[in-house]
Symmetry: C2
Subunit: 437 residues, 2 copies
């Protein structure tokens, strides 16, 4: 089975655990053997369990690449969107990636699905079925239709010609109001969950109608020229031969704190104390200090280095406009080489804790407008500063003036306090270089 | 007017804003011209307003001295308890301090009151009256009796001979149950708020019955030998000539989050957003990152570098046993020279942000079991390391091996990141030295 996982989304609705570089799919809330898994980790492991030979490609914006490598390892295939261009360009690029980078035949089938629904193994078996139906070629596109559990106004609906397990699409309906939703459900309509399968060639041909390109590399280079257009609008609504596979298993969107906490196995994650007068209350604490909750009912509390949310669960779905107003400086991030956390922001300085995983290293880089001072607090490694390599261990201090090129290489897990000093400290003030060795 | 302010108390009921070194009287929650005042600052300013010539002495444990200097300035008179010995020894020591350090006559009167009730100017006028009644010498001790506003089980009661403004004490009653309290109130009883006045000689003579001492210095040296005994038990209950002054003005104990938040002028302090579905909710945020509250009713939220409390207001009075169980490492403190905040605690290292006020300096000290690294992030000053003085400013790094003596002197306000490295990092690992210059 070939799968494209669409990894998009901003982090606002699950603030403060999500941010500009950590969308909701990277929040670790699902209990696993070694701690907690994120949505993307959970889904990745579920696919591997159902089909150990599955070829998985994640279609993701550039900003998510570090987090994906951090959570799924270095070997995961990622089709990187060089800029945001809606779902049609993203799916085309990923499809070209499958053919030209992964070497999959144009006649072979791929299943595309979002990375963030909360599902169980049955869902992945259905994905497999979806692929097999697409392979038969009776239709150009095979959708998965979710059996509705309530008259939701959140989803588009699919009207079918009959009520068979596999049937033909009669019509698509945009997100209706409640009455409309009830009416559709009475007609046997299904939710459109954005899950579908097709032969590579089909989508690549569709793309050629819009823009001429040779291969993946060529398309990547031209990506910015592509129109911002959704796959639904560009392909689905224009296609006449579409089949749909009914699916009645677990399929949940964990897009708000209210729904996310329903999927938690335990009431608390992290350093939390709740007294016994709390009811239906969930607390997720990513800080080192304790959270004490007393007498809370139907409440979600969540804390990260970026802020603290204390909300009635129902109210939590109205969070977005408030988060929009916040000055959302990224205070923590998972990188391909480890992670960092901002400890202090002062006028003209910033103090950061950096953890480098064993065997990893940062980009070799410099800054124009800030000096930096590294103090190693644990581990062993090497720094390269303006080409000079030096062994480092706990207690060592390395100072770097603005303009000087530098990197750290972790020979063991390495913990470093970085102090940045300058009038304009910004993540944009960075030049990357090839390592001279 | 001579006043002894008794500053005691642990910080548990108002966690996380109070801790071992910051009792509730140091929490800044009262809006003032320049920001927020603490209880002790509010009271100090109120006394100075009512009587600009008042001589104010604070009786406080050693652990509070830095915070008192930080909040009230270097000139405040402090009678420091070298160890905890209940209220009788503390009051005797402070009385000796008044005579021997402040030079007040033994025939003069002092008013003793706790530092933490929430009162207005009327209260201080009553303190003045209390002193004048004591000066007349009709009784050895003059108490202030608070007119009860409800049958409280929290206070001791004073039964009087009549209902005059000033009357004679007939009997003291320990904290009663509710029925008992109602009964006492029906008899015209008053709350005992621990506010009283006496001539210095009276208490100093009482003390001599327990332990012989020459003067303040001598008593200070012998302090540890004194019995742990309360002033009520040692003096009040044995004294036959006690008068009481009725007081009906504002007098509130702000000992729980529920009562403390009632005294707040605004619903929030610090970086807080509340949506309009919140009701009767107070949020105090001492962290730099925002707290977002949605749909909370009758709730108090409070956050500091030591933790986060989210509690129903009624429930907040049951906080103590939960706080007892926490590993209460002090994560921030006000010192006489400025303040510090713990930014990161790792295995074998700790990172701290230090702010030194202009013109101040730390003790000259060394550590046996940790190295330290200072990085100046703003300001100008000097370090002295093993006797060697050096000018420092932003970007300078100073490293100190275990055993080496060191201090920083702030020529302007100075901000420093201190990284501690060692196997056993402890506040007890400290030797102080005289500065060699």
């Amino acid at each position: 089975m070939n799968i494209i996982l669409l990894s998009g989304g901003s982090g606002k609705r699950l603030w403060p655990l999500s941010n500009e570089v950590r969308s909701k799919q990277f929040i670790k809330i699902f209990k696993s053997e070694e701690g907690y898994d994120s949505m993307v980790q959970r889904m990745y492991h579920q696919i591997q369990k159902v089909d150990p030979n599955a070829s998985i490609t994640v279609a993701a914006p550039k900003t998510q690449v570090s987090a994906l490598h951090n959570q799924l390892g270095d070997k995961i295939g990622i089709s990187v969107e060089p800029c945001r261009r809606d779902t049609f360009p993203a799916i085309v690029l990923a499809t070209a990636y499958l053919r030209d980078v992964q070497g999959i035949s144009e006649e072979d089938v791929v299943v595309v699905c979002p990375v963030d629904p909360y599902v169980d193994d049955e869902y992945f078996k259905a994905l497999n079925d979806l692929g097999e139906i697409a392979l038969k070629g009776e239709a150009n596109l095979v959708l998965m239709g979710m059996e509705p559990t309530y008259p939701s106004e959140k989803y588009g609906y699919i009207l079918t010609t009959d009520n068979q397990k596999v049937s033909t699409v009669k019509e698509f309906k945009e997100k209706p109001d409640k009455a409309g939703a009830k009416d559709y459900i009475a007609q046997g309509a299904l939710w459109n969950g954005g899950v579908f399968a097709y032969k590579l060639k089909y989508v690549l041909d569709k793309a050629q109608e819009q823009i001429e390109f040779m291969d993946y590399d060529d398309l990547y280079a031209k990506y910015e020229e592509l129109d911002k257009i959704s796959f639904d609008y560009a392909v689905v609504e224009k296609e006449e031969k579409i089949q749909v596979l009914r699916f009645a298993g677990r399929w949940k969107d964990l897009g708000t704190w209210n729904t996310l906490t329903e999927a938690m196995e335990e009431d608390t994650i992290g350093n939390v104390i709740m007294n016994d007068t709390c009811e239906n209350t969930h607390v997720i604490n990513e800080l080192d200090v304790p959270i004490l909750c007393m007498g809370m009912k139907n409440v979600v509390v969540s804390a990260s280095p970026e802020g603290i949310l204390v909300s009635d669960k129902e109210q939590s779905s109205y969070i977005k406009p408030f988060v929009d107003k916040l000055d959302n400086q990224v205070m923590f991030a998972e990188k391909s080489w480890g992670n960092y956390k901002v400890l202090d922001v002062s006028d003209q300085s910033m103090t950061i804790k950096i953890v480098l995983n064993k065997g990893h290293y940062m980009n070799y880089h410099s800054h124009d407008r800030r000096d930096e001072i590294w103090t190693v607090i644990s581990g062993e490694g090497r720094t390269i500063v303006d080409g000079m390599e030096q062994h480092i261990s706990a207690g060592d201090v390395v100072t770097m003036q603005a303009g000087c090129r530098h990197t750290i290489i972790a020979d063991t897990e390495l913990h470093v306090i970085e102090i940045q000093l300058g009038k304009e400290i910004s993540v944009d003030d960075k030049h990357k270089f090839e390592l001279e060795r």
